[in-house]
């Protein structure tokens, strides 16, 4: 594979950089207020959309530009490099919709998803069904031309702010658990939907629980056939964002620079031990970046995302968590006395990286499957 941009990619990157530099709202990352921050993210989605940077790799017929995923990767990379606000994540919901939706559903849901008029969340996990998603209990009972949904969803990231939800619910309790699940496209403003933020150990509201009490969903908002929910979920999860897709790598580099800065401020750069630890952190970031580039290259050559993604997810968790450990070791007591409270928060934010989206243990199981090890 060639790691260098093609001339077209290089030109795209240059234009993008110029645009980002001119467009990134000054001081956006200083915003403390959660609501204001969400508003900013939504605005940023629309701004990106207007400039043609959302859904670039989507098929043209669904509002995309039909470009190679490399362009999305460049967008991620440069957004991270230049410190832009987080990118909207339209890919995995979009994929589910344009693979499984009816024409009418596509016309209705894809344009506002792309443009940022409607933001989405994913109602999959439940308190009793975390890693074991297929055992979900939220039930959708058919009642005339509506489904009536009851249950509780957990780890619904962005649930507080989303307009729509891709919801999984059990429509048939009498068949094997993977076969009785259906998927729905539901407005979060329906009566009976209650969202409660989940505050993680850092003290920040990172995700949400959503309660569904007699929520009525028109039959035409079911996605795919009844019982097709598990397949839709697996597609969605496969296209869920890996480290490469969320600007993680560029963020990692910026964080590493900050940690290097901390070490310098504290006069620790003379210590070989610290120098080596910082270099080790650099190597971790590079290894992750290069592994992701190889995967991207496979995707470009037409392969659907496979279990190799688990390698990147494990490397991601290791890199992120090790970097936070290193910061903690450099900051010492300051991280615990509140002097560097932001780093303590980052530390706690790094912990669930090995839990959400399939725990480290699940990722290793997936790799064992890929190695065709006995069940």
């Amino acid at each position: 594979m060639d790691y260098r941009d093609t001339p077209e990619e290089a030109e795209f990157r240059a234009t993008l950089r110029e645009w980002l530099t001119a467009t990134i709202p000054a001081g956006w990352d200083k915003i403390e207020d959660e609501e204001e921050s969400v508003r900013l993210r939504k605005d940023w989605h629309r701004t990106l959309y207007r400039a043609g940077y959302v859904g670039m790799s989507w098929p043209v017929e669904y509002g995309g530009r039909g470009l190679s995923p490399v362009y999305d990767a460049i967008l991620n990379e440069e957004s991270g490099n230049l410190g832009a606000p987080p990118l909207p994540s339209v890919g995995y919901i979009g994929r589910a919709i344009f693979m499984y939706a009816s024409e009418e559903q596509k016309r209705r849901f894809l344009p506002p998803l792309l443009s940022g008029e409607a933001s989405w969340c994913q109602g999959f996990s439940e308190p009793e069904a975390g890693s074991d998603l297929a055992s979900l209990r939220t039930a959708a009972r058919l009642d005339g031309d509506h489904y009536v949904v009851n249950g509780q969803k957990m780890w619904t990231s962005g649930g507080q702010y989303a307009d729509w939800c891709l919801l999984l619910a059990r429509t048939d309790p009498d068949v094997p658990k993977h076969k009785g699940i259906s998927a729905f496209l539901v407005s979060m403003t329906e009566p009976g939907v209650t969202v409660r933020p989940i505050v993680i150990a850092s003290g920040e509201a990172e995700t949400a629980e959503v309660f569904w009490d007699d929520v009525r969903i028109p039959v035409e908002q079911r996605l795919g056939a009844p019982g097709e929910g598990w397949r839709i979920a697996m597609t969605t999860v496969a296209y869920e964002r890996g480290p490469a897709d969320i600007g993680f790598i560029a963020n990692y580099r910026r964080t590493l620079r900050k940690v290097e800065g901390l070490a310098a401020e504290r006069g620790l750069l003379e210590k070989e031990e610290v120098r080596k630890a910082l270099a080790r952190a650099y190597v971790r970031g590079e290894v992750l970046r290069l592994n992701c580039m190889e995967q991207l290259s496979m995707r470009v050559s037409g392969r659907a995302p496979g279990p190799e993604g688990s390698v990147a997810k494990l490397l991601w968790a290791d890199a992120e968590q090790s970097l936070q450990h290193l910061a903690m070791d450099i900051l010492g007591a300051d991280e615990m006395t509140g002097v560097a409270a932001g780093w303590l928060s980052s530390y706690f934010t790094s912990r669930p990286v090995s839990v959400y989206g399939g725990s480290a243990q699940i990722q290793k199981n997936i790799i064992a499957r890929m190695l065709d090890m006995p069940r």
Binding site: S131, S135, M336, P352, V355, S359, K364
Partner: protein, 339 residues
């Protein structure tokens, strides 16, 4: 037994989840400790010997750590009381043991040593819940002198990571006028002996935190069902728990010895044993409590769950009087250059 008394108090005064920290009756817990005589363990008897051994104090510290009990047992009943007793300020030590007043210690900005004043440095009163004042040192021709500093002025609450201990911060300066000498100057040996005890009880606190956290995680694996089976039946989960258990037990072994050594060995050996215990406990505290959060899965990442309270207490303890890096450097000095 002492262990049962500590466990009983921990049972009633320890949080089951973080929100309990707002409602627990800390004053009652402190009274129970006083009534059980546990605040008096490091006061001296008529022969000038500690009422309770290092082993006994460590047992109590471990029990309160296991319960995540939010009272300043380490700060007031051990670190401050022992300092007073070593300085011969027996009346002051006795007064603390009655439980009506509390005193803690002042530590340097990196929490790694007792503050030496006067000076304009940042200092912290650690484990200062309900404490009116805190002890520090002044350097004098006859050695270090223990001094008392009021926490009324110049100190403000710091947003420490440990949700179970009160941390106050002063950005200085603290001048001589604010220092009240207590007792007689301390010999270098007395200070080292104090350090051995202090490192040991902090290690014991970490051991308690770790053992309780592992026990909680193991219990959870016997309740939580995924894929139709208890998660504790997955070998990966079993091994995570087993590894955490081994590290916690290894720390306990090192701490038990250090606790015995406090009263039984000469000061250099006692301090080496204490540094060994602190190294071991500090080294594994982060990994063990992280493993516990991992075993709890998603719920273990949330603020309202108890898991991170263990992590926070262990991570702060890790720093107090020096983390494993500090201890290893000192141990190396003893081993490699006989310093």
């Amino acid at each position: 037994m002492l262990k049962d008394v500590a466990a009983q108090i921990a049972g009633s005064a320890g949080p089951s989840n973080p929100s309990d920290l707002n409602t627990l009756d800390r004053a009652a817990a402190w009274r129970s400790l006083a009534q059980a005589g546990l605040l008096a363990l490091r006061t001296r008897d008529d022969d000038g010997r500690p009422v309770g051994s290092g082993v006994e104090v460590a047992v109590v510290a471990e029990g309160l750590g296991a319960g995540l009990v939010p009272v300043p047992y380490l700060g007031s009943a051990v670190l401050a009381t022992e300092l007073l007793a070593l300085a011969g300020a027996h009346d002051e030590a006795e007064a603390l043991s009655e439980g009506d007043t509390r005193t803690t210690v002042l530590l340097d900005r990196d929490l790694s040593a007792l503050a030496v004043l006067p000076g304009d440095q940042t200092v912290y009163a650690w484990d200062a819940d309900g404490a009116a004042d805190a002890l520090a040192l002044t350097a004098g021709p006859d050695g270090h002198q223990v001094v008392r500093v009021s926490l009324d002025t110049g100190f403000a609450p710091a947003a420490g990571s440990d949700l179970t201990r009160t941390l106050l911060r002063s950005d200085g300066p603290i001048d001589g006028a604010r220092l009240t000498p207590v007792g007689s100057p301390l010999s270098a040996e007395a200070l080292l002996r104090w350090e051995a005890l202090a490192l040991t009880v902090i290690s014991a606190d970490i051991v308690g935190v770790m053992r309780a956290a592992v026990a909680r995680a193991v219990a959870y694996t016997k309740e939580r069902v995924q894929y139709g089976v208890l998660i504790g039946s997955f070998q990966a989960v079993q091994h995570l728990c087993a590894e955490a258990y081994v590290q916690a037990e290894a720390s306990a072994s090192a701490t038990n010895y250090a606790a015995w050594a406090v009263d039984e060995l000469d000061v250099a050996e006692a301090l080496l044993a204490a540094r060994t215990a602190k190294t071991q406990a500090a080294l594994v505290a982060r990994e063990v409590t992280e493993t516990v959060m991992q075993v709890f899965g998603g719920i273990g990442q949330t603020y309202e769950h108890i898991a991170h309270v263990h992590t926070r207490r262990a991570l702060t303890d890790r720093q107090v009087l020096g983390d494993e890096g500090v201890q290893l450097v000192r141990i190396a000095d003893v081993r490699l250059t006989g310093e």
